[in-house]
């Protein structure tokens, strides 16, 4: 095979992979504008019926409000947790550092369903289940490792003398934190906020278990899928997609642009 044909074959292959990855997203978008309740081929007429339906459904709005509360609070908590761990890992060496890091990094290796089970059992045991903040607690534990990873990468790019330079110039440790570490990590902190918010915004398993009667958007989706399936699922999905994407793009722009800047 000549290089040219190989390149074409590879391009087609990559195209197929992307088709596979994006087919469900695109079809969901299409179905959300399809008049038929049970989406099959051929498609029905173009319709915004399902958007009208979710727009008029106060439960959806309550869920959106809940989701925004949960994801923004989760983002703040998880980013704080992630920042503290990343900084500790960056700055200190101590006995049991391995277990300490494991403590914050392990949650993503635990399947959601198990996390959900354990969280609900434990939170209801200590009287903290069934609240909106139960979801926030659980999500913060689950998403903190992502925040930690992003901020740790940023700290890795930092000249390790920078903090000492601040002390050397008369700043105490808190001032160095405030005037050097935090500003240096700012783009990563914003990225972490966006990423953790997006992950939390889309998480349904743990949320469904611990939320009690408080519904977030993914729980509404889950209930529609489990129950009275109709294309409002796709309409909500499209909405969730747009929300999450805005957050991700924001995070990317902030983080990548900063990185390009710092490398120039």
């Amino acid at each position: 095979m000549t290089g040219r044909w190989l390149n074409i074959a590879l391009a087609v292959y990559v195209g197929l992979i992307f088709t596979f990855v994006f087919a469900p997203i695109i079809f969901s978008l299409i179905f959300s504008f399809n008049s038929q309740r049970f989406p099959t081929i051929p498609l029905g007429e173009f319709s915004t019926e399902w958007y009208v339906k979710i727009f008029n459904d106060p439960d959806v709005w309550t869920a959106v409000r809940n989701s925004l509360i949960v994801s923004s609070s989760t983002a703040v908590l998880a980013t704080v947790l992630g920042f503290c761990t990343a900084y500790t890992d960056f700055r200190y060496n101590f006995r049991f550092k391995g277990p300490y890091l494991a403590l914050i990094l392990l949650p993503p290796t635990i399947p959601l369903i198990i996390m959900a089970l354990a969280m609900l059992a434990w939170l209801s045991r200590i009287g903290m289940s069934g609240q909106l903040w139960s979801i926030i607690l659980a999500h913060s534990v689950m998403t903190a490792p992502f925040a930690m990873a992003i901020i740790r990468l940023r700290l890795h790019q930092m000249d390790p003398d920078l903090e000492a330079a601040a002390w050397n110039l008369g700043g105490n440790e808190w001032q160095a934190m405030r005037h050097v570490i935090v500003p240096f990590c700012a783009p990563a902190i914003v990225s972490a906020l966006c990423l953790t918010a997006a992950v939390s915004f889309d998480e349904f398993a743990v949320a469904w278990f611990v939320s009690g009667l408080n519904k977030t958007v993914p729980i509404v989706i889950l209930e529609i899928v489990q129950g009275n399936i109709d294309p409002t699922v796709n309409a909500i999905g499209t909405f969730v997609f747009l929300t999450s994407m805005s957050l991700v793009i924001l995070a990317q722009l902030l983080f990548i642009s900063r990185q390009i800047k710092s490398h120039s």
Binding site: V52, L120, A121, S124, Q226, G227
Partner: protein, 378 residues
């Protein structure tokens, strides 16, 4: 679509749209309902019972808001209550056979029988439904019922073939038979197929073994295990041509939508699911809940239940049925709720072809559930 009866839900929806388009102008809709100063009523129910078509009118009239949590299966319901602090749920919609468990676990409040139309029941069984009474104390009010039998796609199976549970074993249906993913109705049907009749829940070890064997022999026909939504989609998409463990409550919705599906009560007999309201223990809104139950037992409420968007159920009061025949004769006819029609639900009960769903008598629910897991794994 024009021939379809106007359901109350559609009217509601239209009214909502009008209201939003008009008075409330461009304000967000949640301002108008969800965030208004309303009392919230927490409801634990099967899917659909807390939707606007069921509770919307009551909410508006009484300035309350239902906050539903949906479950699938009585065990699931019990689990959800157990995980929540006492007093979490104000109203619980339970399957008839689980009321006893709710009561035994002290999850529900007693009711006053005088509050409800017991003198207007379509069948005497409904007045003294098993488990709903503890001595002379009422604990649960029966709302509606529905019959489970063979549900099938009419293009893949004839009514003749569907008139026996044998139909599930039809060779052409290999991989096309679905189960509603809950052991009670499916295993109950297998028990009926084995000829256990009225004793379908009261199985000796041998009979239980025989039911297991029968069930296992169906495994190669089975194409999947589905929740409510999956069952829906499976039948609609033609992915499943017959379903075990359901009945008109699902095919009825699809029929309304024009899908070629139907449910029949086979000759071995059918199973009745019964849905009843209970007031959650420690609820601070017991009075509101009582008036809601009264509302649902009124003729209008019964009509709403019969027309419920998520899944239909038959009326249990005479007045309810009469009103249904008057306002929505098509739905009354579709669901055979007209005296003298073939397969009229009350007649089926009187003929002894219907058995109320119950929990296993000689085995534990866990035994049944374990077998169900084993079956799924086979």
């Amino acid at each position: 679509m024009t021939t379809k009866p106007k359901t109350i839900s559609k009217q509601l929806l239209r009214r909502d749209v009008l209201r939003i388009g008009g008075g409330a102008a461009l304000s967000m809709p949640f301002v108008s309902r969800a965030w208004a100063q309303t009392t919230e009523i927490n409801m634990l129910a099967w899917y659909g019972h807390g939707e606007p078509d069921m509770v919307g009118a009551f909410e508006e009239a009484n300035n309350v808001k239902f906050v539903p949590k949906y479950y699938a299966g009585g065990d699931n319901m019990l689990a959800l209550i157990a995980q929540s602090p006492p007093g979490t749920y104000d109203i619980i919609l339970s399957d008839g056979e689980f009321v006893q468990q709710l009561n035994a676990a002290d999850y529900i409040e007693p009711l006053d029988a005088n509050d409800y139309p017991f003198d207007d029941m379509l069948h005497e069984d409904f007045t003294k439904f098993p488990g709903h009474w503890d001595g002379d104390t009422l604990f649960s009010m029966i709302l509606r019922g529905g019959h489970l039998g063979v549900s099938y796609n009419t293009t893949a199976m004839s009514a003749e073939e569907a008139s026996s549970y044998e139909g599930f074993w039809k060779p052409e249906l290999q991989g096309k038979v679905g189960h509603f993913d809950w052991h009670l109705p499916s295993l109950g049907m297998m028990s009926l197929k084995n000829g256990n009749g009225a004793g379908l829940w009261d199985l000796s070890d041998d009979q239980w073994q025989a039911v297991q064997d029968t069930t296992m022999s169906l495994r190669s026909q089975v194409g999947g295990f589905f929740d409510y939504g999956g069952t829906f989609n499976g039948l609609k998409n033609g992915e499943m041509m017959a379903m075990c463990g359901i009945g008109d409550w699902i095919t009825g919705v699809l029929e309304r939508d024009g899908a070629p599906v139907a449910s029949v009560i086979p000759k071995e007999g059918g199973i009745q699911f019964t849905e009843s309201y209970c007031i959650g223990k420690g609820s601070s809104k017991a009075d509101l809940v009582k008036s809601f139950i009264q509302y649902m037992m009124s003729p209008e409420g019964q009509v709403k239940s019969a027309q419920m968007v998520a899944y239909p159920g038959f009326c249990v009061t005479k007045a309810g049925r009469a009103l249904l025949q008057e306002v929505d004769p098509a739905e009354a006819a579709r669901s055979h709720q007209i005296e003298g029609m073939p397969n009229e639900p009350i007649a089926l009960i009187n003929e002894g072809r219907i058995h109320y769903r119950d929990i296993p008598q000689q085995q534990t629910l866990e035994d049944w559930n374990d077998f169900w897991s084993e079956y799924k794994n086979a």
